[in-house]
């Protein structure tokens, strides 16, 4: 009988200790817990491309990437049409979900940038890009020596990769 009473008392003491500890942790979390501060980035973040939209039926696991590097996959069509009345370029360029890097796309005509996207994150594509204000004047017709220039950015640090990709394209301009 005495033994049972002693066991119960010990159990009660243990429960009391656990309860008091839990209440103490709760009070600390509610009133004294400091939020985790993520260090300030080294670079100013680039805005996400406002014309970007999700790539339909895009799934799959991320590509394997070497340490300190990146792995990317691209979707694109090499035909680009500039609509002068809309002041925009119609195109297809996507950064599939499998990629591990954000992308930035430039349309370059004879060495001059006519349009530049914001950050295109994995899983997004662009079908239209606004022409750069103050860019070179274009006349209706076809243009030679045109290309996409794709730059890659680390999604966490915003650091630009040293490598770029250049893709020759066919560009036509319509009024």
């Amino acid at each position: 009988m005495h033994n049972e009473k002693r066991k119960t008392n010990l159990l009660l003491l243990l429960l009391l200790l656990i309860t008091v500890s839990a209440v103490a942790v709760t009070v600390w979390a509610l009133f004294f817990r400091e939020p985790t501060v993520i260090l300030a980035p080294d670079y100013a973040p680039r805005e996400e491309e406002e014309n970007a939209e999700p790539i339909p039926d895009d799934s799959g696991s991320k590509l394997e990437q070497p340490e300190g590097g990146g792995a990317v996959n691209l979707i694109y069509m090499t035909d680009v049409t500039v609509d002068l009345s809309e002041n925009s370029a119609g195109l297809l360029f996507g950064n599939p979900q499998k990629s591990t890097q954000d992308m930035l796309l430039q349309i370059v005509v004879q060495g001059q940038v006519i349009a530049q996207s914001g950050r295109i994150v994995p899983g997004k594509r662009v079908m239209v890009l606004d022409l750069l204000p103050g860019g070179p004047k274009l006349s209706p017709g076809g243009y030679a020596d045109c290309k996409f220039v794709v730059s890659y950015y680390d999604p966490e640090s915003g650091e630009k990769a040293l490598l770029q990709t250049e893709i020759p394209i066919s560009l036509s301009v319509a009024e």
Binding site: L12, A22, V23, L39, R46, K160, L163
Partner: protein, 172 residues
């Protein structure tokens, strides 16, 4: 009214204690989850290095002053590959050639990535002689010189390059 035996009283007390204990653990878990917050510190543009000087430095050959450039890079720079100490500073002669269109800064790190010190931004055509160190590394230890390029005005990244070298300690 029925009188409870001492045993029944203990049993009830135990039941209530168990319920209170479990309840306090559930509340604690919920509060811990709800208060687990992260705050992203905003980007703060780095300052220009007040010790930056205009021109190209004249550097002793012993310091192995050389260009850091690889094909495809949008910028080049010059720095001492032989890094020596002067008090609590490291002599680097970090140079942003005038042909560049980017702003540069250099971060000196230990082999494990710990930041030892960094310069401020320098414009094309400028250089800084040395960088102040938070802690002087052991002579002969491996260090990394990370050169970071910024697009002027926007502070967007224009890429980076890392030079692995050895800290030589105090110069003779």
């Amino acid at each position: 009214m029925r009188q409870l035996s001492a045993r029944q009283k203990r049993s009830r007390l135990l039941t209530v204690s168990v319920v209170l204990c479990l309840l306090s653990i559930v509340v604690m878990g919920t509060v811990l989850c709800l208060t687990d917050r992260e705050i992203s510190a905003p980007f703060v543009p780095p300052e220009f290095d007040p010790a930056a000087q205009v021109g190209s430095p004249s550097v002793s050959e012993d310091l192995n002053y050389r260009e850091v450039y690889r094909e495809g890079m949008g910028f080049s720079s010059k720095v001492c590959a032989t890094v020596t100490a002067e008090g609590n500073t490291a002599v680097i002669y970090f140079t942003n050639p005038k042909e560049n269109t980017v702003w540069l800064k250099l971060r000196m790190m230990a082999a494990d990535g710990t930041v030892l010190g960094e310069t401020g931004l320098i414009r094309p055509g400028e250089y800084v002689r040395s960088v102040v160190l938070k802690g002087v590394p052991v002579s002969g230890s491996g260090i990394k010189l990370k050169i970071m390029a910024y697009e002027p005005e926007t502070y967007h990244s224009e890429g980076s390059a890392v030079l692995n070298t050895v800290f030589e300690g105090a110069s003779n």
